[in-house]
Symmetry: C2
Subunit: 144 residues, 2 copies
DNA sequence: ATATAAAAAGACATGTATATCTTTTTATAA
DNA sequence: TTATAAAAAGATATACATGTCTTTTTATAT
C-alpha cells in the first residue's frame, strides 16, 4: 500500500515527536537506528520532510530535527500527500485513467469504499495520536 | 494499491473471458489494444498467467488465450496472489516486520480493517462478475 | 579563530517494476 | 511439406524507488 519512503517518514516523525516531548532533538543517525531504517536514506526522507515544512531542523552542534508547533495535529494524510503525491488517494483500483461513480470501472463499486476507508483512517490519525500509543505501551515503533 | 501488472492481468482476463463467450480466442496483440496496455508487456503477463494455469493458450495459427473452465469462478484474489504474491495481503501498513493484534503497530487498529475490506472485495469479486458488468454496459474496460 | 558536530547537498549504486525487441517453438492451413 | 500465424522465451532497455558515499554548509563549543 504505502511505499517504504512513507513508512520511514511516518515512523521517523513519530520518533522525533516523542523525543521532542522530552526536550530532545534527535539526529538522523539516531532516528534511523530507533526506527530500523537505512541511515542515509532516512536522512534524505527527513530532508524532504523539512523542505515540505512538516518538520524543522537545525544544523551544527546540538542540531537535529524537531517540530515547530508540536501541538498542531499532523495527520498521516498530510505526510502521505507530501511523500507519495495527491493522486495516491484517487487512483482507480482497476488502472483506468478516469473512473468515478458516473463512469465506473467494473471494480469501482467494491474498491472505492476501501479507498475511502483508507483515506478516512489517515485523515483521522495523527503523529501525536500514534506517539501516545507508543508512550502508553499500546503499540511499538519497531520490531526486529 | 495494485501494481500495473495486476491491473493488466485482471483487465486482460476479463477481455479474454468476454471474447471466449462469443467463441473467440484473442491473441495478445488484440488484447493489449482492447485493454489499452503495452503489447509486449501484456504478452509477458499473459505468459505468466498461463504458467500459473489461470488461463490456457494455444500456439500457432488460430491460437490465442482462453479459459479451460469458463464456468468456474475466478476471483481477483487468486489473480493478485499469483501476480503480487501472498504477502501482498498481510503486509503491515506501517512497515513493521511482524504486526498483529497481539503486537500491533500504532496504525494497526485503523489499517487492518481497510486491508480486510480489500481482501473481502477481491475474494468476492470474480472475472465472470466483472465481465457481466461490462456486457450489461454497467462499467467499462478501458477509458482513454 | 578553530575544532567539532550536525544537516544539506550532490553524485553514485542497486533493485525492482515496467517495457521493448528479437529469436524460437509450435500448431494450422495451403 | 512449406508458408504462416501465433505464443513462448530470452535478451535488453528504461524508469522509478530505494539505498549509499562523499563533500559542503552551518551552528555551537572551546
Amino acid at each position: 500500500m504505502l511505499g517504504k519512503t512513507s513508512e520511514y517518514a511516518i515512523r521517523a516523525l513519530v520518533y522525533v515527536y516523542i523525543q521532542n516531548l522530552e526536550g530532545k532533538r534527535p539526529g538522523f543517525k539516531e532516528i534511523a537506528k530507533k526506527i530500523d531504517s537505512p541511515e542515509q536514506f532516512t536522512a534524505k526522507v527527513l530532508q524532504n520532510l523539512t523542505r515540505a515544512k512538516l518538520i524543522s531542523s537545525m544544523k551544527g552542534r546540538g542540531g537535529g530535527f524537531f517540530f515547530d508547533h508540536p501541538a498542531t495535529p499532523l495527520t498521516l494524510y498530510e505526510i502521505i500527500r507530501v511523500v507519495e503525491g495527491e493522486v495516491f488517494f484517487s487512483k482507480c483500483g482497476f488502472g483506468l485513467k478516469r473512473c468515478d461513480s458516473e463512469n465506473p470501472c467494473p471494480l469501482h463499486e467494491d474498491y472505492s469504499p476501501v479507498r475511502e476507508g483508507f483515506l478516512k483512517a489517515v485523515k483521522n490519525q495523527t503523529i501525536q495520536a500514534l506517539a501516545n500509543k507508543i508512550n502508553e505501551r499500546k503499540a511499538v515503533l519497531t520490531r526486529l
